[in-house]
Symmetry: C2
Subunit: 255 residues, 2 copies
Amino acid sequence: MPGGDAMIEWLSDDLERDIRERRFVTQSAGRRVPGLLWLPHQAPRGLVLLGHGASGHKRMAYVLDVARRLAHEHGLAAAAIDGPVHGDRRADPDAGEMEVFKDFLAAVVERDLVEGMVEDWTHALDALQTVEALAELPVGYWGLSMGTTFGVPFVAQEPRVQAAAMGLMGRSGAVGTSGAVGDRLARDAAALSCPVFFLVQWDDELIPRPAALELFDRIGSKRKTLHANPGRHVEVPNAELQASEAFLAQTLAAS
Amino acid sequence: MPGGDAMIEWLSDDLERDIRERRFVTQSAGRRVPGLLWLPHQAPRGLVLLGHGASGHKRMAYVLDVARRLAHEHGLAAAAIDGPVHGDRRADPDAGEMEVFKDFLAAVVERDLVEGMVEDWTHALDALQTVEALAELPVGYWGLSMGTTFGVPFVAQEPRVQAAAMGLMGRSGAVGTSGAVGDRLARDAAALSCPVFFLVQWDDELIPRPAALELFDRIGSKRKTLHANPGRHVEVPNAELQASEAFLAQTLAAS
């Protein structure tokens, strides 16, 4: 694996439970974007980009869980980057969840966070594909909530992504999707063409049920599937996270 | 296996692809109810009751497919009975699908087909449990469309059923659920308590989407999951049939 490519700077390299975890920084339109790459023990069969939720970061508990299961159970590599105003992209990386969440909600309507994050993911994927073991792999995207707010626009314009697991987000009336953000979400959902696995929490207190169903409805992909379960925004059953991982593994294996 | 029990009369016994298939007739409130029992090669781990859709019968193609996969892949026994005005319960068992469908739609509003079918399933389960190999097994129910119209009321009042896979049916505005039938469906859905797997076809031309979502919403079970996919009423993806079978197998194994 190259360590000195201009596009990617490697910061650390650790092995835990048979999974190699490497911190990196990429460049995107002048921004330094911090990320993590997880590699399975064997040669990876695919690469999944992981978008974390609002108030979280690239190594929050469920992102790490998903990354490790993708590696352990499906032999897939995974990578995550911090979202804007999140994680190591903050001046105060130890800010509390509520503070980060408020900053995100303010920023997302004030400036074009979506287009910036689309650029950041695109550059991160470019950089990751300079790694020989990853260069030719099929690529998937996984991201719930804010990971869908950014993921839909990113995947809609990224033909390298061949499968996506998304959800916990809605077309309108959902937190963080007012105005231009929601309009773009609706437009880009219609432009999706890869198979999509979409999660809905039936009692989501942040995303009104009709808004979530409308977003799923707008997804243009011929193959799309919706899984809904009782519970609030953060109560996604573990079995559904695993179903989303299996969906990505199966779809990438067939692509 | 007893052959001469007063409650169940065995008519045939065939072995095909390692699965034993036995035709039987049970008695239910003076009605002769024809059925089929499928047994896996090994001792069964559970029994799943299969309710066919309107215009079909107990051995229609997808019912047979589900029964065989339950046996082959999950080691479960399965049983199906003909619905009222369907299959061998018709004077003209060779009637065309459209004629059967019309007869069902007429009959379901004219007389209490639902209560009769609840009795028929209850007596069929009583009779099947006189078979030693089935007597102590956990019981599941599987039925889409008309199999849900009858299945919801049956399962709601049958504590022996510990998991159900249903769907392609709605609360109101759906074919065959006007008046008392729909009212009972709504009431009985709320009374369900076992885990439920519920299928929705996103472009169902017979069951309006809001009616299907409303029926899922009304299901009282703490554990319920909805899977929705693009396509018309009869276009359920094969992978979702298999997911419904896996759900039953896993839930019954844990019960």
